[in-house]
């Protein structure tokens, strides 16, 4: 879709959605970055479903766990910043989908599993992670950063 065809309302609504998701990513990343005790260990150990073996293996190896922690924290921070200011937005959005896919696969809302962490809502198959993931996918198809975002300045045709 050509960005020319957006009305003002459409464009700014897309921007607001993008910034809000970016904010969520960035704050999740910053909180973990500022907490010296944060580790993905508990979350990984709590994994269920088809891929739990992979996530448990990540947690079992201290070296791998450190890499996972590092990638997760900085992934969240950079994706969040990218979405907010519209820098390398396409890459950031795709990375966001990949990261969320990991979360979703490690904690799928499938029938017959429950997690140590209580959920704040009720979910079956579709949970907020999946919705955020789909939203990012939609944002790729409606690239607001070509008008609003550093990308529009840096990569101006």
């Amino acid at each position: 879709m050509k960005d020319k065809s957006y009305t003002g309302w459409q464009l700014w609504s897309l921007v607001i959605l993008r910034v809000a998701i970016g904010w969520h990513f960035l704050y999740e990343g910053i909180t973990k970055l500022l907490n010296p005790d944060w580790s993905s260990l508990g979350y990984l150990m709590d994994s269920k479903g088809l891929f739990e073996g992979i996530f448990h293996a990540m947690a079992a190896n201290a070296a791998v766990l450190n890499i996972v922690d590092f990638l997760n924290i900085w992934g969240l921070v950079l994706i969040g910043t990218g979405l907010i200011v519209g820098l390398f937005t396409r890459v950031a959005t795709i990375s966001g989908i990949v990261l969320l896919a990991f979360y979703y696969l490690s904690h799928p809302a499938i029938v017959g599993v429950s997690y140590a962490m209580p959920s704040e809502g009720s979910y079956l198959w579709v949970n907020k992670i999946l919705i955020e993931m789909i939203t990012l996918w939609v944002l790729i198809l409606f690239p607001s950063w070509k008008k609003v975002g550093l990308d529009s300045i840096l990569f101006k045709k």
């Binding site: 500022l34 508990g42 947690a59």
Partner: protein, 530 residues
Amino acid sequence: MMTDKEKKRTGNNMNRREMLKGLSTVPVLGAFAYGTWRKRRQDHIKSHKLARELDMSMKPVEHIPYKHDGDVIRIGIIGAGGRGTYLLKAAGFVAPQTIREWKDIAEKDPRNKVYSDFLQQDDLNIRITGVCDLFDVRANKALEASANTGKEMPGGKMGTPARRYRTYQELLAADDIDAVIIATPDHWHARITMDAARAGKHVYAEKGFTRTLDEVYQVRDVVKESGIVYQLGHQGRQTESYIKAKEVVEKNLLGKISLIEVCTNRNSPNGAWVYKIDERANENTVDWLQYEEPCEVKHPWSPERFFRWRCWWDYGTGLSGDLLTHEYDAINQILGMGIPTSAAASGGVYFYKDKAHYVNEIREVPDVWNVALEYPHLDFTLLYSATLASDHKRGKTVMGHDGSMELGNTLRVFADRESTRYKEKIANGLIDPSIPIYTYIPGRKNVDSVATATEQYFASRGLLYTYRGGRRVDTSHLHIAEWITAIREGKQPSCNIDQAFEEGISAAMATMAQREHRTVYWDIDRQQVV
């Protein structure tokens, strides 16, 4: 029509507009930074104020490193059944086949850490030079473990195996044994401990301290006279959160303590001591006569009484010696309350009462049991409540006027809604009684940062600290290491004979209260149970 000049100007305007539009979301980062700063500052002020109010030291529990240098200490193991085998492992000795099985398990389930934990366990610089067990199969397994000095699997290089002794007296007479680990059934504890002390061998003995009240005094006197290093097997002494709990009490975070509740919950035949009976056990492979020697009334060969001995008063004291003692010792290490003024007990055989659970004989000792230990001079009651037929988890709770403390692997302190000390802080919102004012999670790097709800959830389920840093340490290993260090340095370990005496008298009072259907009292002046 626009002139060229006008066109240029409009184009510039468009560029500037596009530029502003492109940058328009950047200020969001400023708002984000401001919001984050505000929130962190508020959290910091709150936790700082709270920390100042509580005055808890912000350092994790410091461990004095154990010493393993110097001469090799030569150990004899007396009683190499379930617990004895576990203690051998904690000391660093496991049969090769068992290590192979652990490795196979770890390959199938990366969460299972038995194998890697064992490999990482410190070498205590000890050797197992003597083994005494009345069942050939177990004695041979212990001999295999004793030879496995390099934590090898089958086919690996083995060291010299220990010598097997048919009686503990022969083992104690051996010159190449400096110290003994006693993990026999309780009816042997007193005799072996006293003979070992008289022979000058240091002792690590399993709980319960003794089977009878008289033995408590006798063992205490003989051990004290001998000057050996004695450690009673309450490995809870090594639990980090208990060490922090002591500080919580010392800093008076709880105010006046009036009630302490400790519990045991288990729900399996194993947990109720209805263990599997080894089919290889018979009168040729078990020295049954020797096993029964301390019993007043002798019984004919009974594999059930041999393997499931905790179910009968002839060999042990059931929940009292096995599990009340652990709970008692945990609280005694924190509060140092010693022997109670009185003990009352009630309970019965309520679940494992049918023949179907047994081979021949139904148990004598209760599977549901409650004990009230009174400390009127300290103004509190210690309640013990146990069932072997429900796995509902209840932690240890210390209840005070200003706050209560929940103890498990983690430690949580809550302010009391009606507290006098925290009244003002609850009113102005600094303290929320539904959120812990202090949390200790072992293995956490910083005690001062407030543990998030997520962290607490994972920690309470043993998911957090267990694997962090790739190292989990077995408390039984630490307890043996402390004993070995004490031997090397000629010092007293944490669960020494004085602590053991208090445990022994208290448990004996509870057992007597149950068996004699009366309240049992401690005459402090005469140091007698009446």
